[in-house]
Symmetry: C2
Subunit: 330 residues, 2 copies
């Protein structure tokens, strides 16, 4: 089976990890008959395409100290590589901060925490982008170098920058999210460049997978900018496979980040039902948490199949369990 | 007194440090009469120009991992800031190498050692150069941020790259110097861009100082590329102040690096006299080590004033002592 996940940062990365584990386990469990060549020897076969493609938001991307930073891509790649800091939820395990400390001593503004090992990723990405390589190619290189098996695709190689309208005015995404700790009320979102941004090579094809999953990422900050890229929303709406969304809202709260506040400030119901209404025209199945079982009826009334389960993934076993349930939905 | 030092890396940096110490001590020792305004109050005066300007070679500059590296400038700035690693002779004290280790894990070629704190310098320089700032302005910013008082000037803001002709062909400078540990015989030198390179703002003015010193740096790898910049050799030849060169060769050997081998392979005598012959048309005074006192006569025969002293500086006290002797020569 081939699976495509549309993902933002942490929630997307965890489900990507679960899907990778589940698909690899499935491959091992499936009995395969090795075809024989006419002379009885094994038939050489090309390496199969990776069964999992993760299409990642780039609206959070930013430039700091002249370095190109792609936080969601890095969270997905680090998590798939098993290098991420599970406790903190972002960045690499066992980081040190000597370069950041020196940047501060040089008078640089260091409100955005960058670890020494993380910086290597940004240095390599920046150098390759400056030499004309596309973000999708750079991402493939970095993922390969870190031993990641699934294909990780930025949704676009073109510029797409999320801006957040707040009572204090329009803020750049990282200023809103990291600089001001997403404390401002969100009155609207603007995805600069989205009208002109073309899907990166492979993105539209990936939406034709047997299973397409919308990760339990922030619907506005992670999934909306993905869908805003030219042709992506349309391709998802017409996708031939099973389309499943996992609610990032559990018991009226977000697992992580400001999704609940944004649902509220933008006039949506702060619940899995509110999320289901946003995705109703794009997916076939809505996965909601067992704590929200009472919402199964109203979600079904939207014309969606409802799957109720424990959606809070936690560590790798929980991720793999949820992923197996999603695979069973296809 | 104002002093200009033409410098490469370590030897130049140490003498720059000594001159800074000696000039600051001289300022403190000199009794000053504070002029009075007509109303008896103090006269506001503009900050005086720094008494020391260090004009630094950029022929060693290179780009690694997309970052602009200026090894000689950094050695001078780090040494003047008191941040350099005295034992090793290059880089910063107390460095760590987490980013380099991660770069290696990403498949980058890490033959050139870059510390975490050192990388901050390169990151800031690269970002500012990409935004159109000149190397001289970036260097001034970095020096100021590190608390350096003397003015540190790259000899040019234009591209100037030293290439080394060897039996194995023409090598880029850092490939020759770091990559192959300057083990190849040097058959010739090529300063790419030198014909078109213009002196950075302030360089020609600095050569009109009361004292101009050629540091005990490598005559071919450090001083020649400086002099190759358009108009610099001519300005030095006609400079109105006292021009003094310090021999980097002591007892037939270089204090550090491949100066002795290069003198030999290029057909020069490997001695302070060999160096004096190279500089004879450009300086008034040749400073040679007391171990080479027997060469004082032959050097004087070139039409140069000879000053014999202990030229091996070692730590700060030795640097300041040598610098005081140089100041006395002016």
């Amino acid at each position: 089976m081939n699976v495509t996940l549309l993902a933002g940062g942490v929630g997307g990365a965890r489900l990507a990890h679960g899907l990778d584990l589940a698909l690899r386990a499935a491959l091992t469990e499936t009995p395969t008959t090795t075809p024989s060549a006419p002379d009885g020897g094994p038939v050489p076969r090309p390496a199969p395409a990776p069964p999992l493609t993760v299409v990642v938001n780039v609206g959070d991307d930013t430039e700091l100290h002249g370095l190109s930073i792609s936080p969601d891509i890095d969270t997905v790649v680090y998590t798939l590589a098993g290098l991420n800091d599970e406790d903190r939820g972002w960045g690499l395990r066992g980081e040190s901060y000597a370069t950041l400390s020196a940047l501060k001593d040089l008078g640089e503004d260091t409100w955005f925490t960058l670890g020494d090992r993380d910086l290597a990723t940004h240095i390599v990405r920046t150098a390759r982008l400056h030499h004309g390589e596309k973000l999708s190619a750079v991402t493939a290189h970095l993922a390969r170098a870190m031993g990641v098996r699934p294909r990780v695709l930025p949704v676009t190689d073109d510029r797409l920058a999320t801006f957040v309208d707040t009572p204090s005015g329009r803020l750049g995404f990282q200023e809103y999210f990291v600089g001001r700790q997403h404390a401002d009320a969100v009155l609207g979102l603007h995805f600069a460049g989205a009208d002109a941004a073309r899907p990166a090579p492979g993105v539209l094809d990936a939406l034709a997978a047997e299973l397409v999953v919308l990760a339990p990422s922030n619907p506005f900050l992670s999934i909306e900018p993905l869908l805003a890229v030219r042709g992506v929303r349309e391709a998802l709406a017409m996708a031939p496979g099973r389309r499943v969304a996992v609610s990032p809202i559990v018991g009226g709260q977000a697992i992580k980040g400001p999704a609940a506040q944004i649902l509220e400030s933008l006039g949506h119901e702060v619940s899995a039902l509110g999320v289901a209404r946003i995705y109703a025209d794009l997916v076939d199945v809505m996965v909601i948490d067992e704590r929200d079982a009472r919402l199964a009826g109203p979600v079904a009334d939207l014309g969606l199949t409802v799957h109720v389960t424990d959606t809070v993934m936690g560590g790798p076993p929980g991720r793999e369990r949820l992923a197996r349930e999603l695979l069973a939905l296809a």
